[in-house]
């Protein structure tokens, strides 16, 4: 982990110096610490201006309950007229400032990088794991599906990146509780 700020060492949401990967049977859980996040909300009546500016910046603005993946910006839908934008942390630590430059006053931008714990779950078939965690009907959802759901009482964004790759964004302060729920459930499938 680089240490750009004299004497201040960052910690992952799970409280480690480096992100961890945990494998339980066919399920692999990886903490991601290399993603910068910003929420983006369209200013009232500026939809067209935003769409134009976003296009110019290669920033996807997916429809409801969907995510779109691109470089450097990916995004998923949060609520009407609001998205979460993802970008590589190394190049976009100051993601809000960068987006502000691209989008001007068409959108409200809020740094969200450290509000969340991101856990990427990989499994040949993630359905048995998630049917014990969330009421989302994962099996029938298309790749690119993204929605907020409840996992172990926690409001958590779930993104289906591929049939075998699921991303969770859970509240950062409860990172350990979320991981614990994933771990005990994965163990119950062994």
């Amino acid at each position: 982990m680089p240490d750009p700020h004299a004497g201040l060492k960052p910690q992952t949401a799970l409280g480690h110096d480096v992100p961890v990967t945990i494998t339980i049977g066919a399920v692999t859980i990886t903490e991601r610490f290399d993603v910068a996040l910003a929420s983006l909300a369209v200013r009232r009546g500026r939809d067209k201006d935003l769409a134009k500016a976003a296009k110019a910046a290669d920033l996807p603005l997916p429809p409801a309950a969907m995510a779109q993946f691109a470089v450097p910006y990916s995004a998923f839908w949060m609520t009407p007229e609001m998205w979460m934008v993802e970008a590589p942390f190394a190049s976009h630590e100051e993601i809000t400032a960068g987006l502000k430059t691209a989008l001007g006053d068409t959108a409200s931008l809020t740094e969200q990088t450290d509000a969340w714990v991101r856990l990427d779950i990989t499994a040949d078939n993630p359905v048995p794991l998630f049917e014990r965690l969330s009421n989302i009907d994962l099996a029938t959802k298309p790749v690119g599906f993204a929605a907020r759901t409840v996992i172990e009482h926690l409001g958590t964004y779930l993104i289906k990146r591929s049939p075998t790759d699921i991303t969770l964004y859970g509240p950062r302060a409860s990172a350990q509780s979320l991981l614990h729920a994933l771990e005990v459930t994965a163990k119950s499938l062994l």
Binding site: A64, T79, P80, A147, T149, V150, G155
Partner: protein, 94 residues
């Protein structure tokens, strides 16, 4: 219960928080309303056995406020609207 969210489709009512009568949208202006008007807005609610328009908040979902038309006797839900659209249709703006 299942609430058929206008944008997200059917979602479990467990994800929602209930507020009550959708007449809460119809808030009088505090500077011009008479005390009686304000009193009625704050305290008086109908309590029908049958169709009821009520406010639900998708707190564990997309944070939309919805107006749900529900039969309080059977729990049948006949209509679900975005509260923002309902508010605008009632003439609310800024």
């Amino acid at each position: 219960m299942i609430i058929n969210h206008p944008i997200l489709g059917p979602r479990d009512a467990q994800e929602f928080v209930y507020l009550g009568d959708a007449s809460l949208i119809n808030r009088p202006d505090g500077l011009t309303a008479s005390p009686a008007e304000m009193h009625d807005y704050v305290y008086l609610r109908d309590n029908p056995a049958g169709l009821h328009r009520e406010l639900w908040y998708h707190e564990q979902g997309d944070r939309s406020w919805l107006v749900v038309t529900r039969n309080t006797v059977t729990h049948e839900i006949t209509k679900v609207e975005m509260a923002r659209d309902v508010a605008r249709s009632m003439g609310r703006s800024k």
